[in-house]
Subunit: 478 residues, 2 copies
């Protein structure tokens, strides 16, 4: 992707002005909701609603038709007219030299109307205009404070960009992220991918400083090679997580009747994205668990992981899960054991997992974690907590929080370690868990999910090591 | 297990009287907390606290020593004295003809003190007394309103019995069940399993009418054959779910340092419990998701499952998961398609998953589900809902609730079908989800977990079919 391609794609995320074509005055109608969301999100560029009646809507001056817009003034156009009117609207936008268009309208390839879809794509391509959609719910970008979607009107700003091929799932997750306090840097409903595809968006997001990680929900893929190239570039800059639906035979059929795209040969795709360092999540829960671990932690400097627990049982469960994932539980060296022995109750275990027993209170958690944080040979910590009668979960949470020195992880910024934490139990444990989330820690309600979070960090460590190695090799070849 | 064995085990769950040995007057001390929980839970039998100072505690008359108790009056004794005093207490209890003892005290095989452990077991066995523990947090039984644990003082009564080898995890989950509104019929902290083991408890729980399903958290197993026999008997009566920790090499080592038990050869164990019809969960989340589906639904009468969704994407994800689990997505027959066509928006898909599109409202959900409920050839439904702007999740929940006629599942009691439901989205979806949980439906926050719930029901269907077949075969042999 050349400089000017990137420039055009950037208009979708950072437009200086937006036209919305097909804005009803009636609340509830899609065009109206998009305009309302643009207003509520605090977008500061110029806004041009186009409505045949030509009245003012939501305080914005409206335009009777695309023809009334001044050529060269619109950066991004959102089309929310019926499918049959899109062709003429597109021609109008081309004449006004609009570089980027999102077609919200449905009724294209997803219902068998391939002809109309290729028509609007041809119009766009002939003029160098780029097109997202059709059949999308729009685009959100936290940097430009632009919520050009008909989804929820409030979205928390954050570090992760989310590309979704499914509209309904995307809308539901958009809603869910805010409720669960996950922030996003961008959400793109990519729809039928008639022109702009995942790869185009990745090229932009890879270099976007506001995006620290990218999540792609994908059903079908048209150009596998292009995607892998962009994925590889993205992984060099930041973690890329994919949920690929339609991996089963029946799932592929369902995906094809849903979006008209072909799910493709999963095995080939799997191998290629793995090689590229992409992290493939098995479920939405896993994807968000991974993102949380990644966003709130530094990348570990190695694979020596230590589990610390006050419950032997969850220590064992976590150990099993580590082995499933190929996570290396560090052999605790003698000098570390000696240091730990002074702080772990005598009935406990100094093997990894370190079982501090149910007698461990917040002071013991604090001391043991502090010892581990100050060891160069420990690269990551999974801290597990079971609510028992004699221990205050909030104090344990506080003990962990007070070990943070930088912005993420534990310890001083320049030598910070990743930590994932499970708080298991009822009201108290759940309150402690919420507190940790608010304090920007990767906290989870079960031991397995805390291990899952650490697994994401290990994957990221490996991807960066591999990338580093291969780019070094590349240099040798020159 | 003979009649009298069962009778003795039943004393643990349904004692007519309880003695607690080692009750401090000090709140926070274990013996005190157990007495307090027994009082708060509303236990109606006689209670005999034993305390050397002999004063009254929490309004109960106390006894200075075991010797003061009248022989033959105590059904169940709870021992909460230091390990070194347990031997003499045991001898005293034997002389009073106490049939059942729970040893809360720790400091036995779990810390290498095998000698003391076999001593107290010998004392028990010589007199026919049964012993749970040592190293446990106690026992809870909803039927006898007895919370003889030092865990949370409020536990919701319900249908599932929970046996746990891990104390801390058990306590945390005990706490969590109430917070999440999961009810339990019994909780047993089984500790070191020096005498009573999982198999003994299963023999009781299999025939206990208050228990509809059993969950066992297990790290090690001493007598595999005995367990499999009891598991097989249990499965004939009700679903049995096991979480077996220590399946990995390092996990097995951790389990052994935690409970002193040998994790055993996992592959052999796996095959044996599978053959016995036991359901083995991979995580706590999965185990509880399974239990929820089982407790709130009838067993399906076949394997024809239909997915209904308003989001193509989650339909595809759910389909993938079904294929992973070997769940049969029914081929929709022509007459059913014709019936559905009148109710599903024209852009939707009548293939399975049935995609009603984002235009589906509560009326459409209601009609489509009602059609499926009335079909004999549909055996189970997975209903998925994505929160979108134009649909009220609560109304969809209400539409589903109104299709219930009996106590569980959908449709009339005599022909009820299982349903698992996902509500995906923010505040509205989460409120609808909570409402469904309150109304005793198996509801989940993701599509994958709703499929997981249905998987549990399919497993139960298969186990019952197999059991039925093998017992029929048995008859032929006679």
């Amino acid at each position: 992707m050349g400089r000017s391609d990137l420039e055009r794609i950037s208009r979708f995320f950072l437009p200086k002005s937006i036209a919305i074509i097909g804005v009803s005055r009636k609340p509830g109608k899609i065009g109206h909701e998009i305009l309302r969301n643009i207003k509520l999100s605090g977008y500061e560029g110029r806004v041009y609603p186009v409505n045949t009646s030509g009245e003012s809507i939501l305080g914005y001056k409206t335009y009777k038709s695309v023809e009334e817009l001044e050529a060269g003034t619109v950066d991004l156009a959102i089309i929310a007219v019926p499918a049959e009117s899109t062709e003429s609207v597109m021609r109008g936008l081309v004449s006004k030299r609009v570089p980027a268009v999102v077609v919200i309208s449905s009724g294209f390839s997803e219902v068998g109307n391939f002809e109309l879809e290729s028509k609007i794509v041809s119009i766009a391509r002939a003029s160098g205009m780029r097109l997202i959609g059709p059949n999308t719910f729009g685009i959100f970008c936290s940097k430009s404070r632009m919520n050009a979607t008909f989804g929820p009107n409030y979205v928390l700003p954050g570090k992760t960009a989310f590309i979704t091929q499914s509209g309904a799932l995307g809308l539901a997750l958009m809603d869910w992220t805010t409720e669960e306090r996950y922030g996003v840097s961008a959400i793109v409903s990519i729809g039928n991918k008639a022109d702009v595809d995942d790869a185009d968006l990745l090229d932009f997001l890879a270099q976007d400083v506001n995006t620290a990680s990218v999540l792609v929900y994908m059903e079908g893929l048209k150009n596998g090679r292009k995607f892998i190239n962009s994925a590889r570039k993205t992984v060099r800059a930041k973690p890329l997580i994919i949920i690929k639906a339609g991996t089963s035979k029946k799932g592929a059929v369902a995906a094809s009747s849903h979006t008209g795209s072909i799910a493709g040969q999963d095995r080939v795709f799997s191998a290629a994205i793995k090689e590229a360092g992409v992290m493939r999540a098995g479920s939405m829960t896993q994807a968000f668990d991974w993102i949380q671990a990644i966003n709130e932690n530094p990348v570990p400097r190695g694979e020596n992981i230590v589990i610390v627990t006050n419950g032997g049982g969850i220590g064992v469960l976590a150990t099993d899960r580590c082995e499933d994932y190929g996570i290396n539980l560090m052999e605790i060296p003698k000098d570390l054991k000696d240091e730990l022995r002074k702080n772990v109750p005598s009935f406990g275990s100094l093997k990894n997992p370190i079982d501090m027993t149910a007698n461990a209170d917040d002071a013991i958690y604090g001391r043991v974690l502090s010892i581990l944080v100050n060891r160069k040979d420990v690269h990551g910590i999974v801290a597990l907590f079971c609510q028992t009668a004699n221990i205050d979960a909030q104090l344990v949470a506080q003990a962990i929080v007070s070990l943070r020195r930088g912005e993420v992880g534990l310890g001083a910024e320049e030598d910070s370690k990743p930590i994932t934490i499970a708080f298991i139990g009822g009201r108290q444990a759940q309150a402690a868990y919420s507190r940790m989330i608010q304090r920007k820690f990767a906290a989870y309600p079960t031991a397995e999910r805390a291990v899952d979070g650490m697994f994401a960090l290990i994957q990221r460590y490996r991807a960066m090591k591999d990338r580093h190695t291969s780019s070094a090799r590349g240099k040798n070849l020159c």
